[in-house]
Symmetry: C2
Subunit: 159 residues, 2 copies
Amino acid sequence: MLKLSKKTDYGLMALQHIAANQYGDVARARVVNTKEIAEEYHIPLELLAKVLQTLAKSGLIDSHNGPKGGYLLGKNPREITIAQVLEILEGPLGIMDCSHEKEGDACMQREHCNIRTPLLKIQSSIYQLLNNMTLQDMMGGTPLITIQSVATEQQGVER
Amino acid sequence: MLKLSKKTDYGLMALQHIAANQYGDVARARVVNTKEIAEEYHIPLELLAKVLQTLAKSGLIDSHNGPKGGYLLGKNPREITIAQVLEILEGPLGIMDCSHEKEGDACMQREHCNIRTPLLKIQSSIYQLLNNMTLQDMMGGTPLITIQSVATEQQGVER
DNA sequence: CTTTTATACGACTCATTTGATCGGAGATCA
DNA sequence: TGATCTCCGATCAAATGAGTCGTATAAAAG
């Protein structure tokens, strides 16, 4: 079914959310934390945390520790592609096992394999597809989101 | 990693093999059985059998019972697409859980989901890609499709 | 400087999917 | 008719992914 994992789903949602708060309205740019995202999208907190940590380690986002901490984008949304996120969270893209095989460790079927070449072409096309859509594209016409519960209590403390 | 399952791998190999023996050299067209394919490509016999059964039930291939039995293509190789095989063996294509959701049973994230629309576009493109490559293409020297990017339309709209 | 609050990090458990296997039923050819 | 070969359905085991728990570390507030 070619389904992408929850990690990727959550990661993309989080990135979109962070980007929207950071670039959506420059006047109100702010740091968002894990808890806020988890509650907004009903994602298990600890799992989301793990995803964000992975993204932070890769440099896609920057983490800020302590109270008032959270995450900010490490790159311009225009430079972050879906393919990047996918590879960071799920490993290198490959529609078959032998996608990234070296010449030596081939699979059993390799010698008579009749589908490798055409499938590699498809894989290449899919990659190209994912690599052409950026976080910026995903933000598109998205209006700035209002966060009722969390925002109100933070707004009070903010200034 | 968007990897497709062994079932699909095996299924595609088998279909290619059947097609090659049936249409490759018309003078020597012949029925091939499960065992032959399994040995040729080093695939577990019983697993391959199950895959072929599924394909047969869907009408993609015709099964012939008894001694000298085996499988023949039920359609012209030109009419069999990778997308078909994939959907038969792995279920409907969908890169996210909410791909085929009805309006009612939405996921928790749905109400505030910010990535559904762009991902649906990508999914559509992938489907188109898989649906444009036929078994015929995989057999012969027929060159492949080129793919148009989903993001193009959105890339134009730079803020 | 101490306390409080938030993120960072690693190890672990549980569930789902996938891969693989077994025994039986039906059909064909000698 | 009978023996063989095939398809067929149900079942079992392994691998992957989803989600959880507990502790450590860092920064802000008092």
